[in-house]
């Protein structure tokens, strides 16, 4: 079967093409799509190239949130937004290699919706919203509703991701990933943490330890209540070690991992509790240090 390559020059043309050919496979950085095509794992009837659409490579401040266009690469995200989106930038730095980060995009990570995608934990921890467009209109999909199954997402067949909306950090953020070496690894598990002092809430999410990336809701609620009730958001006193341990345990409890070639379920659960405790201590140290700086 012949495959056709569609190269819309504008966003409206892209949406029209997707409406006309809902089976068309979008391609941005191609770092997932081309692997599949090179290995004959996929033979779409239409490939829909989005790299001609200049506006997709822009990011901007959009009210309360940063709007990251679907064509923004990991490399530009790291260069431009690391101060405002530290968690997402940390995760981006662990993606592949320089060549992969020069092409790969957060939107592509969302399109693939792999449970191992590194952008997902920070996006979940920071309450991101996916801005999906179609010829029918615009839809804002809360990130918690975006992942619907293993490599499945909430996009309708005629929809494209235009941008991801992420609130800039209002407190410390951390990301940790376990892999078999330092560069070019798909995570065995990964964990993202965002503390939100302005609302007294906590975002905690993991990848590669359930069919979809997932928030550890009980762990988030426990830690937020603990920090609020003990007055620590204001006092910034050292964390109670028992609370740190409990937080780690609750994160691990939220996971439903499987055994596979990259690691066993037990190892993943254990690793998650360790990463959760560690990132919490790092984030809190950061939070305490910031106060010292502002008081001095």
């Amino acid at each position: 079967m012949a495959m056709e390559f569609l190269r819309p020059a504008t966003w409206d043309e892209a949406l029209a093409a997707k409406a006309e050919h809902p089976g068309a496979l979008p391609i941005s950085g191609g770092t997932d799509v081309m692997v599949e095509i090179n290995f004959d794992a996929t033979r779409p009837e239409y490939l829909l190239d989005l790299t001609r659409i200049e506006e997709l490579t822009d990011w901007s401040a959009d009210g309360e949130r940063l709007r990251i266009g679907a064509g923004v690469t990991y490399t530009s995200l790291i260069a431009d937004l690391a101060d405002r989106l530290p968690g997402l930038a940390m995760a981006s730095r662990t993606v592949g290699s320089p060549q992969i980060r020069n092409r790969g995009t957060v939107a592509g990570n969302l399109g693939s919706a792999s449970p191992a995608g590194d952008a997902h934990p920070p996006l979940l921890a920071d309450d991101a919203v996916v801005e999906a467009h179609s010829a029918r209109g615009v839809r804002h999909i809360p990130i918690t509703e975006f992942y619907t199954g293993v490599k499945r997402n909430a996009l309708e067949p005629d929809e494209l991701i235009a941008a991801v909306l992420v609130p800039p950090a209002d407190g410390p953020q951390q990301f940790a990933k376990i892999g078999t070496r330092n560069a070019m690894v798909i995570s065995v598990t990964a964990f993202g943490l965002a503390l939100h002092p302005s609302t007294g809430t906590v975002g905690a999410a993991f990848g590669s330890a359930a069919p979809t990336p997932r928030r550890a809701t009980k762990a988030e609620q426990f830690l937020a209540a603990e920090l609020t009730e003990s007055g620590r958001w204001d006092s910034r006193a050292e964390l109670d070690p028992a609370a740190v341990t409990r937080f780690g345990a609750l994160v691990a409890e939220a996971a439903t991992p499987i055994d596979d070639v990259r690691g066993t379920a037990d190892y993943r659960t254990h690793a998650l509790s360790v990463m959760a405790r560690r990132t919490l201590v790092w984030a809190w140290t950061d939070y305490r240090r910031k106060r010292v700086r502002t008081c001095a």
Binding site: M3, R7, V35, N38, Q99, N102
Partner: protein, 159 residues
């Protein structure tokens, strides 16, 4: 499909735009410098510049390169003279089977454009996407340091 490769306009027919830029370069444009080892972005031996940015040519659809500017390892040397990065790889003995070399040359060229005097961690980071089965990397690091030193010297002018 039309694009510019190493400064030359190229026009190729019969290309399926969903095939990789790497395939188009090697099989349709007669530029076999960029190597094909993994076709999945893991080894970096196919690294080329696309509009000035180093990418894995195996992960770029040929149609995505249309009307864009591609520079391959074949475009680094000027006339008959090796680029200082190429010379340094030869001098340092950083080339054994040579399969990884074209990609490493482009990645190193890009690193030194951005950071003429890179630290060792910067070199390792910049070359993290380029695998070599032969050299154990020490000679490659030597070559990058040497290339940085040579370009610093030539910038300082003849002494």
């Amino acid at each position: 499909m039309k694009c510019t490769v190493n400064g030359q306009p190229q026009e190729i027919d019969d290309v399926w735009e969903g095939e990789s830029l790497l395939y188009a370069l090697r099989e349709r444009m007669g530029l076999p410098g960029s190597k094909n080892a993994c076709e999945q972005g893991e080894c970096g031996s196919c690294t080329v510049y696309l509009d000035g940015t180093p990418v894995c040519a195996c992960l770029v659809a040929a149609g995505q390169a249309a009307d864009r500017d591609v520079v391959t390892v074949e475009g680094l040397a000027e006339d008959d003279e090796l680029h200082p990065v190429q010379q340094a790889f030869l001098d340092a003995g950083a080339v054994q089977c040579g399969f990884c070399t074209p990609g490493l040359l482009v990645a190193t060229h890009d690193l030194l454009e951005r950071e003429p005097q890179p630290s060792d961690p910067e070199i390792r980071e910049a070359l993290a996407g380029n695998l070599c089965r032969c050299t154990g990397y020490e000679k490659i690091l030597d070559a990058v340091r040497q290339a940085a030193a040579t370009s610093a010297q030539s910038k300082a002018g003849p002494s």
